[in-house]
Subunit: 339 residues, 4 copies
Amino acid sequence: MIVVMKSGATKTDKEKVLDRIRELGYKPHVIHGTTRDVIGAVGDERKKLVLQQIESMSGVESVVPILKPYKLASREVKKEKSIIKITDEVSIGGRQLCVIAGPCAVESEKQIMESAEAVRTAGAHMLRGGAYKPRTSPYSFQGMKEKGLKLLAKAGRMTGLPIITEVVNPETADLVAEYADVLQIGTRNAQNFELLKKIGKTKKPVLLKRGMSMTIKELLMSAEYIMSEGNHRVILCERGIRTFETATRNTLDLSAVPVINNETHLPVVVDPSHGTGHVRYVAPMAYAAVASGADGLIIEVHPSPEHATSDGPQSQTPEAFMEMMAKLKLFAEAAGRTL
Amino acid sequence: MIVVMKSGATKTDKEKVLDRIRELGYKPHVIHGTTRDVIGAVGDERKKLVLQQIESMSGVESVVPILKPYKLASREVKKEKSIIKITDEVSIGGRQLCVIAGPCAVESEKQIMESAEAVRTAGAHMLRGGAYKPRTSPYSFQGMKEKGLKLLAKAGRMTGLPIITEVVNPETADLVAEYADVLQIGTRNAQNFELLKKIGKTKKPVLLKRGMSMTIKELLMSAEYIMSEGNHRVILCERGIRTFETATRNTLDLSAVPVINNETHLPVVVDPSHGTGHVRYVAPMAYAAVASGADGLIIEVHPSPEHATSDGPQSQTPEAFMEMMAKLKLFAEAAGRTL
Amino acid sequence: MIVVMKSGATKTDKEKVLDRIRELGYKPHVIHGTTRDVIGAVGDERKKLVLQQIESMSGVESVVPILKPYKLASREVKKEKSIIKITDEVSIGGRQLCVIAGPCAVESEKQIMESAEAVRTAGAHMLRGGAYKPRTSPYSFQGMKEKGLKLLAKAGRMTGLPIITEVVNPETADLVAEYADVLQIGTRNAQNFELLKKIGKTKKPVLLKRGMSMTIKELLMSAEYIMSEGNHRVILCERGIRTFETATRNTLDLSAVPVINNETHLPVVVDPSHGTGHVRYVAPMAYAAVASGADGLIIEVHPSPEHATSDGPQSQTPEAFMEMMAKLKLFAEAAGRTL
Amino acid sequence: MIVVMKSGATKTDKEKVLDRIRELGYKPHVIHGTTRDVIGAVGDERKKLVLQQIESMSGVESVVPILKPYKLASREVKKEKSIIKITDEVSIGGRQLCVIAGPCAVESEKQIMESAEAVRTAGAHMLRGGAYKPRTSPYSFQGMKEKGLKLLAKAGRMTGLPIITEVVNPETADLVAEYADVLQIGTRNAQNFELLKKIGKTKKPVLLKRGMSMTIKELLMSAEYIMSEGNHRVILCERGIRTFETATRNTLDLSAVPVINNETHLPVVVDPSHGTGHVRYVAPMAYAAVASGADGLIIEVHPSPEHATSDGPQSQTPEAFMEMMAKLKLFAEAAGRTL
């Protein structure tokens, strides 16, 4: 951590800062600049956030963090990429891409069965489907709850696909974990720390979506929450951030993929359905995600998008999904991956 | 809802859209434009979100919502401003401003007692203090939990100030509600819909903070979640949104105050401490908040900011708070309010 | 255009709005809704912006635009993709991708000659280099000006590569046009309408960069400025937008590529160097750009990035560029393009 | 400047960085950390941006700037607030607030005369009106140009109010300067550095609007451009930044006012008309601006907003302006200012 003193800071100001740095267990180093001094504080990064207090002291201009706040998630701690095994057949983070597909929400037995068949036929590796739906409006469809979980599990068994579904409440987390192969944390819960801690105590792999206005650093801190409770099987998911642009539902930040690949050993998948919000942009962004280095995709597919209870405009038909998967194979090969 | 057809839409496309609108229980009205048709759909707004499906249909360019998605929170439904009574002495939304003050977190008996005394002396109306702290890092201080609640309640009793504290988990909501006069929903939980529903079932007033990247419309939808469960005593809180600017911790969106006053009958308070992140900017933004029409303020005050476990750089000393309160009185009068 | 009336609008309010719509030369259509009326205004879109005035009238809630404000740039007006010919060998928008490469700024004869040789050897199609540099600080290197143009032109002749360079001032536009094969409008001048009009009167193709906080619609409006002056040879460039994320210099909005391909016939290239700001992220985002459907790339290459007068951290070495070009060929093929 | 080395940086990496720092004329200071080294570089800040190159070197994680890039605009260089004199009667930056008012554009002699009379009667200190209009669409009204300047000047003479109008092109800057008392740089030209340099050579005071996605630091750098050419009479203007919120046209960043007051000696005015985009929010935000410490306001007033050629929805009627001015006096007094 670097403490930048004001140009008019007095000697007493500086001495008090040095004392406080030592009191907090750090070793201070003063660099005398041409117009102001800066003080480096060397020590264990765990106490780092406490150092921020120093910004309140007289004569201090600002406190600049140097070290990264995440540990378990960091590439510096674990150099080789983590491969997260879901079942004997399916894992994420290795040479093989992992494509997760299915409807936004489980709506009926017929709908989820049709969806599961369609995505398996097209080559998907995992089935998605929401049973608990976090919706912006209390008047919107909130999901089929446990009944939806049962249907999803049945569809998974029938097709042999592992299933992923969202957890929205610490109170129902264990119930969801009984059915799901992978637990999903949605974008609006990405900093619901109580939920993260709870999930960190389960044994199931977790797909953690980036919050709408979360920096990549904060996403890694949320992963750190799960990991610090003992669950290291975290898959990160870029799904678009909120910006001023309205042509797309969110702004898919694909450059997060190489940044994540540089900063952490955890695998990363991309959600171009929520990222763009319009089905016509899903396929190009899926290709781009693979080209940028993503380990997988999560795609909304619905047998009849114009009858979907949610996210219809961004859901592919089974035909569109199959067509996309065929082209995706070419991009996977260019990226040195298999599909 | 307005359905905008593509300029090249066929007659069949249009007929299918008209059929689907009728099927969903709406009455369609076609307007023939110079380059394309637009179709108005008239009917009960509850089904509104379902209409969005139509965007998936062939020949459709976009679907434009017209009606507001919130009902109970809307000024159209309830014209007069809601005054939310906390205790016999304290309420929010009337002529008298309500100033909430205290430390970010309850750290010790000494600290919270000193804080409570200081803010009461300076004229605050309510005491704040976190017992459950949602922190970005799992390695940061997470709050004193129930012990913190007890200390806060004691400080409240001693000073006669009602207390407000944050709820972070549906599992501990009832416990917090036993101690607190007002429940706070923090910015990272503003779209934690399970928590909102749970809080909607309690009888305590709620201070709902705006999420970091939430539109005002979405904030009102979160209020609607709480209200639709039966709890109508919701106080909105503007605390800064996330933008590209880094000179302040967040960008305090004060224009949200007149927008909220125009759109809803619910009262609104402003948090300039989190909004700016630097103590030197808190007072001017507190004055500005009152001038813009806010019904109150929530301010971080700590007896020794450079020893605070969290948010030190944005916490006022008791002296600074007292000085600010004196000047605030002038702005309150200019705004036709009392302090 | 759709005029949404307030739920409490009076009959007189509505009649005045209808009169004003007719007065402006439009034909109004009233749709009676359950809680409020909406009025469609049908007519020539040119006067569209004037209709916005109606929002000032009593009883009006909002005015919602329906038609697109751009004409010449629109896919609705010209269905087939525009191929912009630069020289007999080089064009943009066809099956062949166009890679533009070179240093941020022309710094010396040696530097630009080395750069030109290097990028030609690696397979680039056009040479970039700034002679007039718009820098955030007045104390930064402002470019070699006409001397830089001469050196760039020489390097272009020597290598047979067409050259592109930035225009920053209407006063020097003609001078730059004498040397350059393609004129570049930088991100900070993307809404410098006087410069756009001036460039619209030249005969040279233009590469128009998206402004840092411009929507795609506004980018197309800036293209429309150039086109409406008679110069239809506009190449759009996505180079990153400004968001809250700081891990990258800007947030490269790759989904702008399919949106642009849907909305306009103009070709689009991507600048991953400015888009990411760090050389380690340039190659993955270049691959992703091609996968998303871009017609070309613009890449910063410098013989010695750690000695560059500007943009060193985002400039590739000649070796890195050559390596990237080899892999890019695979992605080009996957996308059905040639390199 | 602080150079942060990677945790795996070699001794050779570090030595090369130290050499390069010395070569650039700085004195390096190494701080050995627990997981990585950081190197402070002490020296003249002018070369600061060149140091950024070091980020390209092997073993370097990042380069963190410490010093502020602006000099002439900085509070560190000039402690006392600058009072900018416009005429014998009007100045900005002193105890008296300065209210600038008038229509968005000069549309006709009648319109500008009526506007001028109205704003003078209500107590405005300066008259605004655009003669050259930078519009998003080439098909929108582009201003009356020199004819507009003449009418504006006539209205100024008639009412005794100094006039302010926008400069959009270096080629017409001298012409505008002949008529105007204050030159305005609009938001889209705030980083049009050629225009800034040109304006820096005139003798007229300049009102510099913040760009839509400019940080406050960048705004001060644009002021520095004008000042470094010799013109120190710069008035800064906060007019809203671009965010995801759509309830207002822009997000008025009022906390920029105390930040600017802390960082620079230059005066600052606020534009709540563009900042909010809706007339119903203009007055509350004007009061808030004064409470936050602004030195003045710039307000759009039009005799008949529903007939305005631009910005009708955000323009006050003369009656609304007069009413606002009466209340504003109370807030000015609370802020220790006169109106």
